[in-house]
């Protein structure tokens, strides 16, 4: 089924002239962007640029004031189970009384639908997802006992358990240690190798070039989108982050040198 979809269209997500408003203030203004299938794409932009809003709009979590969004050429409701989501880690209460396995099993809930309980196959899928993020030994831990990086891996495992075609991730690298960052990157690349599409909100401009192959640059409106080589330019960065001069200088320098600057602490 996913393979069919891929062969009929090369676009994973198409956002047509979308405007989203909150309390009548626009947070996304007439955004028109598409993400090719099989891409490892970053959404970048300053704080409050509407990066998470764009992700949530694609997921149908926010009402859009105008415009249209298609996933694999169809309305989202027809392809829900092909879309996995990794929310921001801080968006949930990690004191909630559930174990790591419980959380990863939630990735199977979409397939199960209401009222049906997870079975053996779901548990196997969850265990496999835990293996791919290296969290098997934490399977029965209470989630409050995890470090930030481990929490992020659990969220990633939950998305893997969804076994989707399109993965939407909100800052998957935020606040994790270097080792976790590398293993998350490996998982994302693994997804791409298997023909899946990954779209991630990303905040670390230093690593955009080395981690991703496609970028959408956002600041309320779309500044630029395209393959990294053509879109992630100093000029576009200037327009995306205009007004933030110190950061801009740093970033311009990073781009000029091909993103090889040592990462800022």
């Amino acid at each position: 089924m996913p393979a069919d979809t891929l062969s009929t269209t090369k676009i994973a997500v198409e956002v047509h002239d979308v405007t989203v408003a909150y309390h009548r203030k626009p947070v996304l203004w007439d955004v028109d962007v598409s993400f090719p299938a099989g891409a490892l794409a970053a959404i970048v932009g300053p704080n409050g640029a509407g990066k998470s809003t764009l992700l949530k709009s694609i997921l149908g979590l926010l009402p859009i004031a105008s415009g249209r969004i298609e996933v694999f050429g169809k309305p989202l409701t027809q392809v829900r189970n092909q879309v996995a989501y990794v929310p921001q880690r801080e968006s949930v209460d990690w004191e909630f009384p559930v174990s790591v396995l419980d959380v990863v099993l939630m990735g199977r809930y979409g397939r199960l639908g209401w009222l049906r309980r997870p079975g053996r196959a779901d548990r196997d899928a969850a265990d496999a997802a835990l293996v791919s993020v290296g969290m098997t030994e934490f399977r029965d831990r209470q989630i409050s006992q995890l470090s930030g990086g481990q929490q992020q891996r659990v969220f990633l495992a939950r998305a893997l358990a969804q076994d989707a075609t399109l993965y939407l991730m909100d800052e998957p690298f935020a606040g994790v240690d270097a080792a976790t960052e590398q293993s998350i990157l490996e998982v994302l690349r693994g997804l791409q190798e298997r023909g899946r599409t990954v779209i991630a909100v990303h905040h670390d401009l230093q690593t955009v070039r080395s981690y991703f192959d496609y970028v959408a640059m956002l600041n309320l409106h779309l500044v630029a989108a395209g393959p990294i080589e053509t879109a992630f330019t100093a000029d576009n960065l200037k327009r995306t982050y205009g007004g933030r001069l110190t950061l801009l200088d740093e970033v311009t320098e990073a781009v000029r040198r091909g993103g090889t600057l040592p990462r800022s602490p």
């Binding site: 989501y85 909630f96 559930v98």
Partner: protein, 457 residues
Amino acid sequence: MNELLRLITLQDANTRLVLLGTGVLGLAAGVIGALAVLRRRALVGDALAHAALPGVCVSFLVFRERSLPLFLLGALVFGVLGVLTMNAIRRFTRIKEDAAIAIILGSFFGLGIALSGIIQRLPSGNRSGLDGFLFGKAAGMVRDDVTLIALASAAALLGVAALYKEFKLLGFDRAFAGSLGWRVALLDFILMSLLAIVTVVGLPAVGVVLMAALLIIPGVTARFWTDRLAPHLVLAGIFGMLAGLIGAGLSAVLPAPQSALSRGFPTGPLIVLVAGTLFVASLLFAPGRGLIARWSTARSLQRRIHDEHLLRDLYELQESASFKAGSVPAPSIGQIAAHRAWRMVPLRNAIARANALGYVTQTRGTLALTASGREKSLRIIRSHRLWELYLHEHAGIAPDHVDRDADLIEHFVTPELLAKFESQLALGDADPIRTGAAMGVPLSLHPPGASAEEAPR
């Protein structure tokens, strides 16, 4: 005493009925309340209960009879009206949720009190039984009332059992539930409906003022004992049931206050007091999360730190003294105290413990390490100095600062961790372990003696 016996042996049919009613109610309120707390909707139950009072009054004014189903219908209508108004305030204005709850809770409750004042002055008013709705009067329950409670509770518990997985995800990660295409607003509505049903049938027994406490306290209490959702809900149900049973039982035995308009002590306060007692007991005594468990963990850690400091101080004093004089005299207690700015009470206690374990011998105000004490102190000081070295070489901390930082870490190091980082330390030609004394104690990176360390707390 006789009454107590009758109560415990359940000889009285009416007592059996009342206890059945409050027990089942407590069970359902505990379970559904725990879910509401996890969904951060705990105060919705409070608003609902208070908003229900005018509904009961209006129901009496319209139908002019004391009929529990009609009362509860009125309560449900007004309770839901209150919650809907609250949601509307939150959605269409910029008033925050807590303020919206306070507005609804206060105004609806005020309206209810005003209406019940009017009813009391009516000729039929004193037969309304409305006074029981304020603080609860389980003793007045009849078979039909209990049947109603049982049906409502069963509906709520069945709903939770059927939608357990859905409520779990709704409580933990609403956005993710939405991304699965679930209608989270509908789920929230179902949860709030179950909450409303249980709240309303609980009003005659617990009263509008304290119903929220029976919803909230058992769930919070259960959290001390488990960190899994299913046992959490079961425990909340058990705590709620205990509160209902014991509270109603107490009200049956306690003499009614003179001022009470009818027989029996109000049940609501007693039920909630029992729930509160269970909460305090859990807060204090629960293993792991309870205050006493946490306090005793902290205390034994503090003691261990003091013990290790004492042995380390003794070693350091003897080490530096031997450099100067070539002999190893036993330092006086005053010297030890000055070495680390010890406070006397913890120092004396640490000495007493070390003495009891045979690590030191005390003669005329001086302290000397025994053979086993020396061995133990070597282990401690080795760990400390290895950490200093590690912090200095790998974390780039200046030699005159490593002492304090190592001090913060060393007491928490397991032997496995020690072995692991020992292998990570690059111990080349100037192997500090070999240059040290027996058992491989590296020399200190900073001058021994009164250091920059903080006094032990």
